[in-house]
Structure formats: structure tokens, C-alpha cells
Symmetry: C2
Subunit: 117 residues, 2 copies
DNA sequence: TCCATAGATAGACTGTCGTCGATGCGTACG
DNA sequence: CGTACGCATCGACGACAGTCTATCTATGGA
């Protein structure tokens, strides 16, 4: 236990508005929404494995045809997840000939990591 | 551009099984699922602000009654999110008298941060 | 010019999530 | 004891996300 059970009945916590804040300081409603959307992009096993495959790809990039089989998902599904990652700025795609080559954007992931304090 | 448009047509990427791996090395299907579930917990603005409020709370902890108002959600909704955070090991709750005091678990967040390379 | 291939898009279906009001349970206070 | 309060649980509902098949677009080779 430790302290008295009938102790302080505190007042509401203050919530300051802050610059591009980390998780430690009070989060604005807007920043919380942005962060939540970013984490939602990472909250899918297929997308995490996509990132992992791209990071560890031979030339730091891979085309869709290489990704479909190891992920065990249909090609449209893989394209769908790639688009989500692109929209989030976590990867970029470049069309060369018949293939589109995707590669990760390291800075973007680093900034997300920093958000966790 | 850069390279020829008709260049290599690569074979499937290998996917090694690895120990508690970071995002840089190929992610096992199982580890990807675990990580995705962890990030899903952070993929909600209410839960992020809950964490933020707890971290910056006066004594490093707060009761539910303090959290309902700043979050602008009903009390059952706040309890719901608190339970999700507890189940994920990100916070712990301790009942003292009529109130339940929640506080963050810093190590847990730190380990999640490390997962981002 | 025609056809095969790489990838994106559209539409539908299904399961899950966030939210609420209503209710149940335990604790303190009079 | 009974009553008010803090919080958890339940059940329902609407919204959204992941997946698929089918189809479309664009590129390259014959």
C-alpha cells in the first residue's frame, strides 16, 4: 500500500500546448492524432515485414514482384500496403521500365522513433 | 533514372529466422504480428494522450477521474483505453481506496522504441 | 501492331475498433 | 446499514481496415 487510502483528490491535469513534442510532455490533440496515424501505419504485420524486406534488400530496394511471394498475400494486397507506406512517407517508389522499385526512407522512421521519448 | 530499365529480374528475397530482431533484419511472421499488435496500441490518439498525461502527471500517476475531462471522452471509454494499455504492459494500475491510480512503465516504451531500429 | 507482363485501381465482403448509455461491483462515509 | 461515489463491464452501433477477385493501365518484346 504505502499512502493513505483517503488522501488527495487531485484537480484536473493541465494540458499545455507545445511545439513538436515528444511523448513525455503533454500531447496536443492535433499532435496525438498525427502520431496515432503514423503508428497505425506500423500496426500491421504485412507492412512491418514489407519495411523489413526493403531495408534488408540487396540494393536497398525491391520491386513488387519480389515481395508478393514472401508475404503470402495477393499482389493487389501488397500494392495496397505499399501505397499506405508511400503515403506515410516511409518508403518511396520509382518506376523503371515495367517494374516499380521501392526503397525505405530511413529519416522518416528515425523521426518516428524519437516520438517515443 | 540511372540504371537500365530492362535490367535484372531478381529472385525472391530470403527470409531468415532471427532472434528478438529489430526492424532492420528480416522479420519473422510471428515477430511481425507481435510488433504490429504493440504499435496498434499506440495507434490511437486517446491512448497516446493518456500515456502523455500519465508521464507528465504530478506524482507520475493519476486516477481515472483526472483523465476523463482532459480527454473529452466518457468514463467507460477512458477505462476501455486504460485496460488496453495495461494489457499491453505500458501502464500499471493500483487500487487505493475508492480510486485506481495508473502510472506508466518506462521500460516497456523504451523496448518498443528500440524495435524501430 | 499485338500480346504478355508488372503493377495499380475498383468494388465487395468481413472482421475489428472506438464510442456510448446502462448497469454491476466494491469502497468509504455518515 | 444505507447511500453516494469511483471504476469496470456489458451490449449495441457505426466506422474503418485488410483481404480478395476482377479489371484497367502502361510498358516491352516479338
Amino acid at each position: 500500500m504505502g499512502r493513505s487510502t483517503t488522501a488527495r483528490r487531485p484537480v484536473a491535469l493541465v494540458q499545455e500546448e507545445c511545439c513538436p513534442a515528444v511523448l513525455s510532455s503533454p500531447l496536443s490533440e492535433e499532435r496525438a492524432g498525427t502520431l496515432a496515424r503514423d503508428f497505425a501505419v506500423l500496426a500491421d504485420p504485412v507492412r512491418l515485414r514489407l519495411l523489413s524486406l526493403l531495408v534488408s534488400a540487396p540494393a536497398g530496394e525491391a520491386c513488387v514482384c519480389e515481395l508478393v511471394e514472401p508475404l503470402d498475400r495477393s499482389q493487389p494486397t501488397v500494392s495496397h500496403h505499399l501505397k499506405i507506406l508511400v503515403d506515410a512517407g516511409l518508403i518511396v517508389g520509382e518506376k523503371r521500365g515495367r517494374w516499380v522499385w521501392y526503397r525505405p526512407v530511413p529519416d522518416r522512421l528515425a523521426r518516428l522513433r524519437e516520438a517515443l521519448d
